[in-house]
Assembly symmetry: C2
Homo-oligomer: 452 residues x 2
Amino acid sequence: MTTLTSMRTHHPPPLPPPLPPLCPPNYLQYYNRYLSHGEVRVFKPHGMAAHLFIEMGTYRGGPRSFSIVGLASKPIDIFHHPPYACEWISRGGGGGGGGSSEAAAPVVVKGEVHKILPDWNYGRLYTVVVLTCKFKEDVGTDKSGGDLVLYASYGDKYREPERIVVFTEVKDEYNATLFNTPFPYDYVYCGSSIYGDVSPQRMREWMAYHANFFGNRSHFFFHDSGGFHDDVRRVLEPWVKQGRVTIQNIQQQEIYDGYYHNQFLVVNDCLFRSRFLANWTFFFDVDEYMYVNPATTLSAVLEQDKNVTQITFEQVPISNEICIRDNSTNDYSRKWIFEKLVYRKVLKRGIRYDRKYAVQARHVEATGVHMSMNMLKGKNLYVKGDQIRYYHYHGTLDKRSEVCKHFVDPRNKTEVVTVQHENHRIDETMFEIVAPTKQYELETIGNLPTII
Amino acid sequence: MTTLTSMRTHHPPPLPPPLPPLCPPNYLQYYNRYLSHGEVRVFKPHGMAAHLFIEMGTYRGGPRSFSIVGLASKPIDIFHHPPYACEWISRGGGGGGGGSSEAAAPVVVKGEVHKILPDWNYGRLYTVVVLTCKFKEDVGTDKSGGDLVLYASYGDKYREPERIVVFTEVKDEYNATLFNTPFPYDYVYCGSSIYGDVSPQRMREWMAYHANFFGNRSHFFFHDSGGFHDDVRRVLEPWVKQGRVTIQNIQQQEIYDGYYHNQFLVVNDCLFRSRFLANWTFFFDVDEYMYVNPATTLSAVLEQDKNVTQITFEQVPISNEICIRDNSTNDYSRKWIFEKLVYRKVLKRGIRYDRKYAVQARHVEATGVHMSMNMLKGKNLYVKGDQIRYYHYHGTLDKRSEVCKHFVDPRNKTEVVTVQHENHRIDETMFEIVAPTKQYELETIGNLPTII
């Protein structure tokens, strides 16, 4: 599949260090006032606490709009409400169609910026911003190319804005057909930032299951913020080679203190990356397994109502330590996670359990970890768990040893099991899918080692 | 008096712009990790939202301690709790006494930093910090000179601390006698940041009154954050020339968004500036007038209890518009503020009215606008208003026109006057002091113009 490369998405060119030289903010000549009288006090600054704006990626949304995903200094946003501005600078001829393709004076077209802060105020030094830049006319559709410029300001009277070229389209790059159906995939998976000491076996199992679940008209984006060590990459490599998986190396964002490995930034970047790749984009974690009732199909569930552009899924929380004793062995390590952890927590009234979701990415303006609050079109369906749900194997991903700790006598397996003051009941739904999953894996990528 | 210059206080040398070159924070070689695999995403930073640390001043507190007053990035402080470190680098010989005075290898003595955040969480981009650096032994007391170095850190694993030389003592500068009584003054006045379109007449009146109130063993520090325009400086000039007044030009701090013209920063800087200049330092505004019951004296009030090192004063809020009609004139502009505004608000139960205060600066570690929360020794006396209090002429300082708006018939002057739903009663206490004040002014500095 060449689709990923034909859809060229724009992010800053991946240059290695050293760091770009930083110019101090160009404070206006306010200083001159201070020389005139009195005992002049100098307030000597040191170091740099935070940048004003950090680009992650910019994506064209259509003939006259773009989405810019980044981080902004949180206190400046809160206290100064700094305005943003954007403009398109055509490479030649004009913003829209027509005109000769010979070199002409660049034309500047001013756009309007709509700012969204999608991270629920979780940001620390930085807050995630999604900026939608819209023009009143088509820009660059004559394929002459151009630059999208963002002005990020400080919101005070002392500093000029930062002028940032966030997107560059070269001559003939613009391709109108990319923005319309049909899309190259049915489904795209967008994962959150993955960090920590991840168990390769857990990734292997999840990958095999979901490659099968979504089928081969699907693509998976993972975001490595430190979790994808050598052994994890080894079990994913066959899928990468088959073009099913892309691992985005986002380790550099660790130095910018947004929130929790900048997960809100990452899901938004992936949202736009996926926008014209597939009809539906799924957002859930790699310790969560999607499940569809075999009486229906994933496609039927998603298409049940044309007005529905977002669907949120119920969670089945699974105990990460209760297993059924297998009298034939003491070694549970070769059993897959959804083969041996088969006890679900009994849900309590009045408690809000997390949900995950899928959206039609082109119909939302920004997104979050559990849902999109910025729908442009259509409605959100909180679908019933009997149709579709997900199984959450919380606390298993970075477990580098046997997970089974509490064993149930198989003769009593249907009884309530109480562990750590929580009641559990058996749910062998996922157990049924183990054999087909292993078979699918063998057929698709062959043998893999088991590395816990 | 040469005392102000003999007590050399340390703040960054008053160099004019251009800005010091800023080096980007020296991120550790974390970047190298990102090159190794996957689709590498670059997070391109732009601009600088805020500095890590901004020095205002550093003051020696004694043979083995110093106080550093500055601003720190607020989100870094809140989320990273960055540690501070300090050390003394002697110019030669050693930290303490003894040793030859010939050039010797510099000796580094590590101190301990105690951090105080005195601004009640009001900070926006910056929070005020007062750092007390203490050593286990005397430093620099051999008069060999030295540097005090502060390390301000980022509190993350990616950035090295900023090394800041905050204080330099030259050979023979150290003077042990400065830290002990007797002090050159009885009283020092520390004013908050003054901004806006200040009425010169109001400053003239306040100055004459308080120069008289505190007597000539007193000194006044004003802090100009934009309010001391030409005409204001004109009416203060005679006092400046007599050495009674110092105007600190703090306009540069306006570019750093702390809180309210960085007033918490300013009062702390002045606290330390005043520490060994006078027994008592007063903190109140230039629309507030101190008053002592003539049956006693200011000195007697302050010295009533040797254990009292801080005294807070009750406020008498004065209406800024009620005057007694003077049938002999229509022009009230030549009457002084405390001559014509003679109606006090009737205080309501259950409402907390602001107080102002005086401290023995050497007995507190940091301070605030209404009191010090960081007393090292002694106790705080909430003194009764009959002994000492202050009259607050709120809303008169930047009034560039006649303040009197509501006139009371002199025959009814003792009745309750209700204006804007607030009750007022006459209080002519300050009126009694107008004549002596004007006389004192004439005798001390001669005639001044009346510029509203």
